[in-house]
Amino acid sequence: MRLALGAGIVIGVLAPAVGFFLVQRRQSLIGDGIGHVAFAGVAAGILLDVSPVLTALIAAVLGGVVIEVLRSRGGTAGDQALALVFYTGIAVGVVLVSTAGALNVDLFQYLFGSILTVTRTDLVLIAALGAVGLATVGLLYRALAAVVVDEEGARVAGVPIGGLNIAVAALAAVTVALSMRVVGILLVAALMVLPVSAAGRIAWSMRSTFVLAMGIGLGSALIGLTISYYADLPPGGTIVLVAAAVFGVAVAVSAARGR
């Protein structure tokens, strides 16, 4: 449980920090798409008998970059190409897992998260990469926020938009891969989106939204893991339900304030 809480702390902060930039750019579902590709990575890890977290990380980063490149092309063709990546990812995953004979309960820990399967090695990897991810977000905050405010204006002024967008995609991919042990591939995108949406209802600036989102993500992860542990519930679903409840409260507060 202590290992899961340690991982939950990192993920609770990292997921909304990265998700903030996806939500502001109306790309909330990109995390979901990367999760589909990460599933193929997990399956490859099981088949090849190497760490599924590592293979999921590699697959997610590659998938994230491909998705961003396709998205930046825009138009109907780009949209269809994104769908192709999403569904190909999950299809490859199912076929590989079936080939490995692992289409069983072990797979559930990656799909829905599992407290008991977080190992010390997992925690070290999550903490190290999480710290790198948060540091990257901190260093690029001003640039990423400027792109959120006015992407076209930033492009005209010579800001390297393509590079920054790839950086966000890679950060999202790392977040998905790191979070799947605790929240699960199918629900990680929710932890990237719900705290940000909740914070946006009650915050007074972009920066306060960013900070509040990380606070809500952290609180949701800790409370959700604790409930999950004592009530013997799946951690991913419990964490996301806590975040959804906070979102509901934020909406009510916002409505009460007449915003």
Partner: protein, 241 residues
């Protein structure tokens, strides 16, 4: 000695698809420090003209230069200020005026890490220039349409631009705010000497401030002082015909 123009389009044609011509044979030369209005009907090619000027598109024929360099690989992009058409914030975060304006310092300042004191000073100065100091920390969505456009103009000014291009800046803004915005641009032009290209489907608000009016409908159909414009064309609906 002939000065390098801020913008030079020489016999430029452009289409988004093969065989299509959104603009044809456009020749335009804008000197440094000019305040020019570019007007024309919706669908007449104004926004495409802006994209060619800014190097976001490359001409199919002819050449587009910015300060003497090919526009698409202009080396001093940080000196370009651009207010895009119907600009609105994408997500849920309530960005404040100061946060919006700070975004305009990114290209001129450093990309990584926190902003410097000089950046913060220039942001405050730009906010003051557009008369929004008292609302600097207010969420943008709590401001009127005219005030929001002022905030985005301040954002463009924060980068200390040599060329400021505004594409339909008065869309969704009431008539009084349009007048106020035009007067603000006139004052900024006088104080800063920046080249301003004001693009709109109608030019009534800025007509008395600009030195030059360019009418575009696939090609340039008028280029001169607003006073030289035939009386009937002062009715913006005329150029739709």
């Amino acid at each position: 000695m002939r000065m390098t123009p801020a913008v030079e389009l020489a016999d430029v044609s452009f289409g988004y698809r093969p065989g299509q011509r959104v603009l044809e044979g456009v020749t335009l030369r804008l000197g440094e420090g000019e305040f020019v209005a570019v007007a024309g009907p919706n669908g007449g090619g104004k926004t495409t003209l802006v994209r060619l000027i800014l190097g976001l598109e490359r001409p199919a024929d002819g050449r587009a230069l910015l300060f003497g360099e090919p526009a698409h690989r202009f080396s001093q992009r940080r000196t370009l200020g651009y207010l895009a058409q119907r600009l609105e914030l994408g997500g849920d975060a309530p960005a404040t005026v100061r946060e919006v304006v700070s975004a305009g310092r990114l290209a001129a300042g450093r990309l990584i890490g926190p902003g410097r004191r000089r950046d913060r000073e220039l942001v405050a100065e730009a906010i003051e220039r557009v008369g929004l100091s008292e609302r600097a920390d207010a969420p943008l969505r709590t401001l009127s349409g005219g005030q929001q456009q002022r905030a985005f103009i301040a954002k463009a000014l924060a980068g200390e631009p040599s060329l400021l291009v505004l594409d339909e800046p008065t869309t969704g803004v009431d008539a009084e705010s349009q007048e106020s915005l035009a007067a603000l641009l006139d004052r900024l032009h006088s104080e800063l000497g920046v080249t301003i290209v004001y693009v709109s489907h109608e030019f009534g608000a800025v007509e008395r401030f600009v030195q030059r009016l360019v009418l575009v409908r696939r090609t340039i159909i008028f280029d001169g002082s607003p006073q030289e414009l035939p009386g009937i064309w002062h009715d913006p609906s005329h150029i739709h015909a």
